[in-house]
């Protein structure tokens, strides 16, 4: 169970170490040893490990809050992915390696058995990458691959921490992860949580800016046209947060339903476009500058929108499920599918 002390101390830690300067340093290619050391020292990377393995035993639904905080502080290392991966590896009895672990979407297929992963989130920083469906096996065959020895190609996108990664002989380099873990769905929910956190920051920055910036003799936040836009931003941030929280809930016992994650990524990704537009509209030219911190969050939101599938992808997944359901009405489809863990007393 996570209490508010745990949450608050993580919030404080990130506020102290994930400074705008630290984020800029990492984005400009400086190596991040200090941040990494601080995270290792804090122990938060093991937050999801069982308590008898030295962790805090958080399940996804609880870890949601930590992912949210990573997004709120634009923490540049792939800590959420590392937390998730460390727990899955531990449960598989695999020795947990040191360093950042990124999660890739499915790789591009290659005839010559090589593996190429495009646009791996945090691919520039990761020492390890989880590659789902890396090998053609009878069962899904996921690999944990070291980036040491991989070919790493930068995307060329300004400030992006993504990279294309490829391995010429993945079978010999990687460790097989059994268990058909739903990496894409979990990474999508995790990303939705980070996005909701980023939106929280974007909302706060934008409201503050509207209160400080004056035109026509009064703060622009006093103008109804601006107020109405900020209200929409607040609505979307609020909807995104609860959608992401829902997406991070464990499926009900005995089921492997991952559609809540689909809802989360679809809803939050759709909202992100509007959130970014409103924030930049209110900030005007100032928000476009490198110097002003808004861009640290909006650039990330723009990238996260399509990481692990866009709204279109996940809406389609949900739509396929709805149309193949035989419930007499949407309500009777919705409740067991998305709210099955939702009874308690």
């Amino acid at each position: 169970m996570m209490d508010s002390i745990f949450y608050d101390s993580f919030d404080r830690l990130l506020r102290n170490i994930s400074t705008p300067q630290a984020i800029r340093d990492i984005e400009s290619g400086e190596s991040p040893p200090t941040l990494e050391e601080q995270i290792v020292e804090s122990g938060f990377a093991d937050a999801m490990l069982d308590e008898d393995c030295g962790g805090a035993g958080l399940h996804m639904g609880e870890a949601f809050s930590l992912f949210f905080l990573c997004g709120r502080h634009a923490f540049p290392l792939p800590l959420p992915a590392t937390m998730i991966a460390r727990n899955v590896l531990a449960r598989q009895g695999i020795d947990i390696p040191e360093g950042n672990i990124a999660i890739s979407a499915a790789p591009v297929a290659h005839a010559d058995k090589a593996v190429e992963c495009r646009n791996v989130p945090s691919g520039k920083l990761a020492q390890w990458v989880i590659v789902p469906h890396a090998l053609e096996c009878a069962a899904p065959c996921d690999l944990l691959l070291p980036t040491d020895g991989a070919e790493r190609v930068e995307t060329g996108v300004y400030g992006s921490l993504q990279a294309h990664l490829s391995w010429s002989a993945p079978h010999s380099a990687g460790v097989v992860i059994e268990g058909a873990y739903p990496w894409l769905e979990v990474a999508a929910a995790m990303t939705a949580a980070q996005m909701a956190g980023a939106m929280d920051t974007v909302l706060n920055m934008t409201v503050r800016y509207a209160q400080e910036r004056s035109q026509f003799g009064r703060p622009i936040g006093k103008f109804q046209a601006v107020q109405q836009q900020l209200s929409v931003l607040a609505e979307l941030a609020s909807a995104s947060r609860i959608a992401a929280e829902l997406g991070c809930q464990e499926p009900a016992k005995g089921t492997s339903n991952t559609l809540a994650a689909a809802v989360a990524k679809a809803r939050v990704s759709e909202a992100a476009g509007t959130v970014v537009s409103i924030a930049h509209a209110v900030h005007a030219a100032m928000g476009i500058t490198e110097e002003y911190d808004l861009q640290l969050h909006t650039r990330r939101l723009i990238e996260w929108r399509t990481d692990y599938g866009s709204a279109a992808y996940w809406n389609r997944r949900v739509g396929d499920a709805v149309l193949s359901a035989d419930a007499p009405c949407t309500l009777e489809y919705m409740l067991p599918t998305y709210f099955s863990g939702s009874t308690s007393d």
């Binding site: 706060n204 409201v207 509207a210 209160q211 936040g221 006093k222 109804q224 601006v226 107020q227 109405q228 900020l230 209200s231 929409v232 607040a234 609505e235 609020s238 909807a239 947060r241 609860i242 959608a243 929280e245 829902l246 809930q249 809540a260 689909a262 809802v263 679809a266 809803r267 759709e270 709204a311 279109a312 996940w314 809406n315 389609r316 997944r317 949900v318 739509g319 396929d320 499920a321 709805v322 149309l323 007499p328 009405c329 949407t330 309500l331 009777e332 489809y333 919705m334 998305y338 709210f339 863990g341 939702s342 009874t343 308690s344 007393d345």
Partner: protein
């Protein structure tokens, strides 16, 4: 800043109500014509309301001593979610159940509770809300209808408009001026229970663009009101009305209004195996929004159950919810129009036409979009 909405589960005691309601609704819905279902909670069927009352499902949050079930906000959520999710015609008792009953319970005298609440619970007393006037829409505080003191109570003069189902209701809870003038704004407003059969009350129906006549003009000409018709405190009407709004704005009726149309469309797609890639994505998008809104609405219900009045959070749910309700008909018609010449069943087309025509009201009733966003902006510290 706005308070955070946190994922909340519906407690088991409330969930336990669901199967019986679902079973009853399933048996009854076959008797509800398709057009009626498209009307969602605008659908008026006094027999249906009385059937619900017979099972103890009207006024469930009211105390047992008045015939209610003494249940909490979660239980009512489960009940109305089943009713609205299945597009049943709840309009007859809807206002009394949602607002008037709780208002009388909270602010009424013992005599008022003893008189009205059992009648509400038995679905014998239907209520409407008298708020808007010809010159007072969003600017509600400018109401001019006035109650003046008499020896035996009050005398009411003025006019209400857009009063939904006044012609089929027994009582109106009216917000009127008891002192000062329109310029005094929030001061000097009071709420009265007006017996709509009283001398001096004239009700005139207004036909809407779908051909229905659900709303009305209501005229008051020297209507004599007894002392016992004032609800709560004289001059406190504004505060009392504001407290109602959290109940009025956060419930499932703010995102399920177009669900009958959505269900009809899904049934059509399934039956004809005609869901192309766009239709699949659209169906998913609508569900994605519904699931999120439902999670938000349950979170607000949790605050209501704790006795709070989450007016801002409720405004947020209503604005997002009605946006979806209005998106659904346009998106479905766009989708159906992708295949000119396909035979679309008349029932689906009529439901689609009805919802498309009426859906502008979804973001008018209970506070316009602009008013809600203004409230949220105030919550953000901008006003």
């Amino acid at each position: 800043m706005l308070e955070t909405l946190t994922l909340t589960s519906i407690p088991q005691h409330a969930e336990s109500l669901r199967p019986a309601v679902r079973e009853f609704v399933a048996a009854y819905t076959s008797r509800i014509p398709l057009e009626q279902r498209a009307r969602s909670w605008m659908g008026f069927d006094a027999d249906f309301s009385r059937e619900l009352a017979r099972r103890g499902w009207v006024g469930v949050t009211l105390p047992k001593q008045y015939g209610g079930a003494g249940l909490d906000a979660f239980s009512r959520f489960v009940l109305i979610e089943e009713l609205l999710g299945n597009s049943t015609p709840v309009a007859a008792h809807w206002i009394a159940d949602r607002q008037s009953g709780p208002l009388i319970q909270k602010y009424g005298t013992d005599a008022q509770k003893e008189f009205y609440l059992p009648r509400i619970v038995r679905a014998e007393a239907f209520f409407c809300i008298g708020m808007s006037e010809p010159q007072s829409g969003s600017d509600l505080a400018s109401v001019r209808t006035r109650a003046t003191r008499t020896a035996k109570g009050w005398r009411l003069n003025g006019q209400k408009i857009w009063t939904t189902n006044a012609h089929r209701s027994h009582y109106m809870i009216a917000l009127v001026r008891t002192s000062g003038a329109a310029e005094d704004r929030h001061k000097g407003l009071s709420q009265f229970i007006v017996d709509l059969s009283a001398p001096g009350v004239t009700i005139r129906q207004i036909r809407d663009l779908t051909g229905d006549a659900h709303f009305n003009e209501v005229f008051f000409e020297d209507v004599e009101l007894g002392e016992d018709t004032l609800v709560g405190t004289e001059g406190s009407g504004w505060g009392q009305v504001t407290a109602e709004l959290a109940f009025e704005r956060s419930g499932p009726e703010r995102f399920y209004s177009a669900i009958a149309l959505f269900d009809l469309w899904l049934a059509y797609l399934r039956e004809h195996h005609s869901a192309d890639a766009w239709a699949r994505e659209l169906a998913g998008r609508i569900v994605t929004h519904l699931v999120t809104l439902r999670a938000m609405s349950v979170a607000v219900t949790e605050q209501l159950a704790r006795g709070e009045s989450p007016v801002l959070a409720a405004a947020l749910v209503k604005d997002l919810g009605t946006e979806l309700e209005q998106f659904i008909p346009y998106a479905i018609s766009e989708q159906l129009g992708r295949h000119p010449g396909h035979a679309v069943p008349d029932g689906l087309l009529r439901a689609l036409a009805y919802v498309t025509q009426i859906c502008p009201t979804y973001s008018l009733r209970g506070g316009t979009r602009e008013i809600l966003r203004g409230m949220i902006a105030r919550g953000l510290g901008l006003r």
